[in-house]
């Protein structure tokens, strides 16, 4: 049971890194970004190249100490991967999303769906059509963590859970305590008023989109390092799941995205071993339930980041 809960938290942490980007992009820009799953997949593929390169520079771990060095190098690599997504996200926003802020939401969905298709083929062009696996998962698990308290559970999963919490904490700090974060929130609440007091909304939107892309890429790197591999179709499933998460949490709400990810992650991982036929349906049943009982989501906050 504990293992299933931990698996759920691991799954939820990665889900949060994708869903948090989607929810802040929706909250500030007012756009439901269908291409977000592909940014995540792009992160997973870039991680294969970048982390594969940096991990090749250090020796494979033999004991706990070398394993820690190895782990730090891989973590630095995944941050570098996510950093690659910053300019990518900024460029996408400036070139494609910016012209359609005032248009019907149908067109926004259509445009981001078009971007999704184009990005899929860009990845197919660069990394080829077959899945790629990084294969550093075993090395990181040499670092002892859970063994110290007498449980047998992969150390890497524990790190990802901790990283997920750290990402949440950073986002809350950024939006609550920094000047830039407050400016972003002001822009989300009232675009015209922010323009009037001298804020460049264009630049804020680019920034927010780039941050969203950053965390999607980071989540992608986390999956790529883990036991799974990076494949072309991976973006779609996570995209649909992130929808579910941000709807459960409330569109545009950061706390909601966190609680929603953990709810979806834990419930699906705990239910699956006992009722395998419910695996795909659980998140959607949760979503239907939340929407029918509390349509604005658990932390519903229209167009405001809280």
């Amino acid at each position: 049971m504990l293992e299933h809960v931990l698996n759920g938290l691991y799954y939820g942490s990665i889900l949060f890194m994708i869903a948090s980007g989607m929810t802040i992009i929706f909250g500030v820009l007012g756009i439901l970004n269908l291409a977000h799953g592909e940014l995540y997949a792009l992160g997973a593929f870039s991680a294969f190249s970048i982390i594969g390169f940096v991990a090749g520079q250090v020796a494979a771990p033999t004991g706990p100490v070398t394993a820690i060095v190895f782990g730090v190098v891989v973590l630095a690599g995944s941050l570098a991967t996510a950093a690659v997504l910053l300019p990518v996200g900024g460029a996408l926003e400036a070139a494609f999303i910016r012209p359609i802020y005032d248009r019907d939401e149908v067109y926004q969905l259509l445009l981001t769906y078009g971007l999704l298709l184009v990005l899929t083929d860009v990845m197919k062009f660069v990394w080829g059509p077959s899945p790629v696996d990084l294969g550093v998962f075993g090395g990181i698990n040499e670092i002892p963590t859970t063994e110290l308290v007498g449980i047998d559970y992969p150390s890497y999963n524990v790190f990802v859970i901790l990283i997920g919490i750290a990402v949440f904490a950073w986002l809350v700090w950024f939006f609550d305590r920094t000047k830039t974060g407050r400016i972003v929130r002001a822009t989300a609440i009232n675009r015209e008023m922010s323009t009037a007091i001298g804020i460049s909304t264009d630049r804020m939107f680019t920034l927010v989109f780039a941050i969203g892309a950053f965390f999607a890429g980071f989540g992608g790197a986390m999956v790529s390092i883990g036991p799974g591999s990076a494949s072309l179709g991976m973006g779609l499933d996570w995209l649909v799941l992130s929808f579910v998460v941000i709807v459960i949490g409330g569109l545009g709400s950061l706390n909601g995205a966190f609680v929603g990810s953990m709810l979806v992650g834990v419930s699906s991982r705990v239910v699956t071993p006992y009722y395998p036929q419910l695996e795909l349906a659980v998140p959607f049943l949760l979503m239907v339930l939340v929407l029918l009982l509390k349509p604005e989501g658990l932390y519903g906050a229209w167009g405001e980041i809280q």
């Binding site: 259509l110 445009l111 298709l117 184009v118 197919k124 649909v240 709807v247 419910l278 979503m287 929407l291």
Partner: protein
């Protein structure tokens, strides 16, 4: 003026029934379209065009016509229309493989009934919601159905069911057991009849008081409620009608493919495709979704045979539609037509066009340079 010709604003209109009128150009276009539909089998025999792909496109287009009722009139974005398409297809498949029904028309009836039932159920839950919540709720119901079918042995998991009642031959149409070529042809003409009748029904419907009420609901729900329109009930009925169109299309799709599996009929991205067909063809028009369906399905089905990066091709086309042709293919024809005829009369306009394109390019480049400068060096 005879019974079928009326005069409006100095132009002669062809009048088919109360509220159903065509201008001269529209009547010509409609006749051309009908003839084109009828000779598709002959065209495809003599050209490398794929007959099945066009047939499939028409079926998805029919589903998109149904979706367009919600999109155009009540302004609700349904992201779950694959639910009805898939339910229709599965109803036909279940009748064929589990109950040994051999008549294709009975299967279609089953599709319509199943789609009606499921859209009554889903519509009951979603009719009160708006905007993005409506889209996401329909998507959620769609995914629940998909997950249910995918995990259920009765529907044979992800492998799906065959639509061959005796395990070998296609179902009988009009009591006839046909060879495969004959079956395809008869089914195609059945599709054409169904399509034309559905379009006429939809046309009549949107011009009826009910259709006007839906328009009012789309424009402003509160006001619609104040003038006495039962908003939720009307949205529910519109939802069911649009679901029936989807179910009918799905049933015909099952008869065409003779095999139904969850991925191409029920998956959430099929919903997205149906929505995009409506926009691509022009969701402000009645026939636009059919054209969008044929174009998009043809691209999705045929492009993989010719180029490796077919997703990018579709994606770039969607980007072009959003940025340059927001009214869709059919909706843009009048605008392009007047633009071209103006330029034919006055070639000097072309120089202005070139100047406009040049200056907008220059503006874009300089704006991008400024943004990069600000990101790199900060605000000075």
């Amino acid at each position: 003026m005879s019974r079928f010709l009326v005069d409006r604003d100095g132009e002669t209109h062809l009048r088919l029934a109360e509220g159903m009128e065509l201008t001269k150009n529209q009547a010509v276009l409609a006749a051309v379209g009908l003839v084109a539909l009828l000779i598709v089998p002959d065209i495809t025999r003599f050209t490398p065009l794929s007959f099945t792909a066009i047939h499939r496109g028409i079926l998805f287009g029919l589903a998109a016509v149904g979706l367009n009722l919600l999109l155009r009139h009540t302004e609700l974005v349904s992201f779950g229309h694959a639910a009805f398409f898939g339910v229709g297809a599965y109803a036909a498949a279940v009748l064929a493989s589990q109950f040994d029904v051999s008549s294709g028309l009975l299967m279609l009836l089953g599709s319509v009934l199943a789609a009606t039932a499921i859209s009554v159920l889903i519509g009951y839950f979603v009719a009160g919601y708006l905007d993005i919540y409506f889209a996401l709720l329909t998507l959620a119901f769609n995914q629940v159905l998909y997950a249910f079918v995918l995990q259920s042995g009765y529907f044979n998991y992800s492998d799906g069911l065959n639509v061959r009642p005796d395990g070998l031959n296609p179902p009988a149409l009009f009591g006839l057991q046909l060879s495969s070529t004959g079956y395809e042809l008869v089914l195609y003409y059945l599709t054409v009849v169904v399509l034309v009748v559905s379009l006429l029904v939809m046309w009549k419907l949107v011009n009826s008081p009910f259709g006007r009420a839906l328009d009012a609901i789309g424009q402003n729900r509160t006001r619609a409620r104040f003038v006495g329109i039962p908003v939720e009930k009307y949205v529910w009925v519109a939802f069911v009608i649009s679901g029936i169109y989807g179910g009918l299309a799905g049933g015909l799709f099952a008869l065409l493919q003779l095999h139904v599996s969850p991925e191409p009929t029920l998956y959430a991205f099929v919903s997205g495709e149906i929505l995009f067909m409506a926009i691509l063809g022009g969701f402000g028009t009645l026939v636009g979704p059919v054209i969008g369906g044929v174009v998009l399905v043809y691209l999705l089905v045929q492009a993989p045979f010719y180029i490796e990066y077919y997703n990018a091709l579709t994606g770039l086309m969607l980007l072009a539609v959003v940025l340059f042709l927001p009214e869709g293919i059919l909706g843009s024809i009048p605008k392009i037509g007047t633009g071209l005829s103006r330029r034919r009369r006055d070639p000097g306009l072309l120089r202005e066009d070139v100047a406009t394109i040049g200056s907008s390019l220059r503006r874009g480049v300089s704006r991008a340079a400024t943004t990069v400068r600000i990101i790199v060096f900060g605000v000075n």
